[in-house]
């Protein structure tokens, strides 16, 4: 049975199930929806599981390290670090402790911690509060990275990260996803990491999108469909591990690709996807893949400025037209 839930509701539901099932799960922070109206969905959890939520001081570095240490010592902590850029404070603990411990210990110490962040352009967050951080951590090996782009995906992926994985996971959600609604199964379920989903089938061009770019890509596809262009939207859902096969299969079929992400252009997620397409689907590409990303600028506050740098639907539509040649 599925119902329609918002992303935030689906996330709250998943957290409730996880807390109920495994008492090793402990949540530090827990303002998963940040300052959005959706924050109300998490309040009931605090009440239902009073001993399982810890209200931390404003200490991202210490907290991320503490979460990693607790994971090494048998817990399954979920550490909500808040806005994406706050992980900058926690960088040493995330990238140089949690990420490397399993590898440097020669597979002895596991670190099943989940770090949650609200990444990307939230609307009026300005330069210090608008960063998407998934590419930074794809650059620091040892972390699983999930970017659920739909209510159903967030429910299934967060369960996998929290209960079914032995590895540290970076869980990047987005302010502007919190109120996105969609069908969500009632029962608990896991979505395996490294398994992309074709969010919309098509034949003329592929958009590879995850996280906040998923609803945008779907809207772009819808618009293009009105003009008779059939776009396939492939959502990798997790960057690490990455379902290359699914992406390549789609691009081999359509021969044309737009890759999109809300990280800045240089060394962003889209750069990596382009590089992989070129390396592995060279012969199949009829035109060069296009990136739709943030330009290499900090994110300004003012609405028209912010809108200009956001990789929105219009730019996706234009990019698809470009790759169609």
């Amino acid at each position: 049975m599925t119902r329609t839930l918002t992303y935030a509701q689906a996330l709250a539901e998943a957290l409730g199930e996880i807390l109920r099932e495994d008492e090793r799960v402990v949540i530090f922070g827990g303002g998963f929806a940040g300052i959005t109206p959706s924050r109300v969905h998490f309040g009931p959890l605090f009440k239902e599981f009073p001993g399982r939520f810890v209200a931390p001081p404003i200490s991202e570095l210490g907290l991320a390290g503490l979460g990693a240490g607790a994971a090494m010592a048998g817990l399954r902590p979920i550490v909500d670090l808040g806005t994406g850029s706050f992980v900058f404070e926690a960088f040493p603990a995330v990238a140089n402790e949690a990420a490397i411990a399993y590898y440097t210990s020669n597979q002895q110490t596991t670190v099943p911690v989940v770090y949650h962040l609200l990444g990307g352009i939230r609307g009026a967050g300005a330069e210090q509060h608008s960063q998407a951080v998934q590419a930074l951590f794809w650059q620091t090996p040892g972390l699983q990275i999930m970017l659920p782009g739909s209510p159903a995906d967030v429910k299934g992926l967060v369960r996998t990260a929290a209960l079914a994985s032995k590895n540290p996971t970076l869980f990047v959600s987005h302010y502007r996803l919190m109120e996105v609604a969609g069908p969500v199964p009632e029962e608990p379920y896991e979505i395996p990491f490294g398994q992309a989903e074709v969010k919309r089938a098509g034949t003329d061009a592929t958009i590879v999108a995850c996280g906040i770019q998923v609803p945008r890509a779907l809207e772009a596809a819808e618009r293009l469909a009105a003009d008779g262009v059939s776009v396939e939207v492939v959502d990798p859902r997790t960057l690490v591990p990455l379902d290359e096969a699914a992406i390549l299969a789609s691009v081999r079929k359509t021969g044309r690709a737009v890759v999109t992400d809300e990280t800045p252009r240089s060394c962003g997620v889209a750069a990596e996807l382009v590089a992989r397409l070129v390396e592995q689907a060279w012969g199949a590409l009829k035109t060069p893949p296009r990136r739709v990303t943030i330009p290499d600028v900090p994110i300004p506050f003012s609405e028209p400025l912010e809108a200009f740098v956001t990789p929105g639907v219009d730019r996706l539509v234009a990019a698809v037209r470009e790759v169609l040649g």
């Binding site: 404003i58 609307g123 028209p304």
Partner: protein, 344 residues
Amino acid sequence: MTEALSQAQALELLRQMLLIRRFEERLVHLYEQGVFQGHYHLYIGQEATGVAAIARLEARDYLFTTHRNHGHLLARGVAPERLLAEILGRASGLNGGRSGTLHPVAPELGILQTSAIVGGCVPLAAGAAFSARYRGSGQVAMVFFGDGVLEEGAFYEALNMAALWKLPLVLVCENNSIPPELRAAGQFPSSTHAARQLVEVAQSFTLPCSVVDGADLEAVYAVLGEMVARARRGEGPSFVEARNSRWPGNYPLYPAIVGGNTELRWAWDPQAAPAEVREWTDRSDPIVLWIRQVLARGATRQEVEALDAQLVQQVDRATEWAMQAPWPEPSTALQGVFAEGRPA
């Protein structure tokens, strides 16, 4: 211990406090009308700390602040219309609309960078103080920050360097989590620190420290006078904890004008204040408290009312100006990442 404030100074500081109050009340109303976007933080209830401390600075000094910056900027003399335009994201705002409420600057007033990152401003301020000391310029850097900053490691690193190198830095911690029963974890913004007294932490780094009632303008003025003088004499950094009881309108995640805009008569007719704010206005509102002082020193109600009326007008004009200010041209978002040309 310190020279008394003249009545002219007392009225000037009242003017600054009232300007901050009227400005921010207006801001809430504008936000409620959807005129601007984003999360924002008000200085209401902390005005005495900012204006009294900043009154101790010279024009050439540096000032650093946080997400809760409007009061500091206005007290330093920033034009309200330019701050408002910034908060509305307009091209003629202090930062051309690029910052909004989060990190407005006024370099000509020594406000070089404002950080909305908890703990961000303290190392920057230490750097400005370092520059002053290195150049032997006699400048002082003053930095305001919340009690939450003592939860961030950045604070300790900057504190240590300031102490080691005797930097001319005045650290003003505005603890708005007082009274103690409200210091529990889990509130937003919250103070979650193990120390019995925040000053003990700075004392352990050998800084001269002081705890002061942040709603008591004269007390703040006295303490900061000393601390700034120390710094200017090359005696190094110091730390002041100014304690404020949080304005009820600051409890919700987004500020709300609980009980309506401040009325001056609450100063002389405490019963006039609405029940939901009465205790706070009467005992903790620095403006109400200061009005009582200036009246006791001989000012008249009419004088105070006239001053306030002027400020309301100023805020009206600022609002009009800011609302009509142009939006930045969208494609300018791509400009100004790097400065061109050689330095002077």
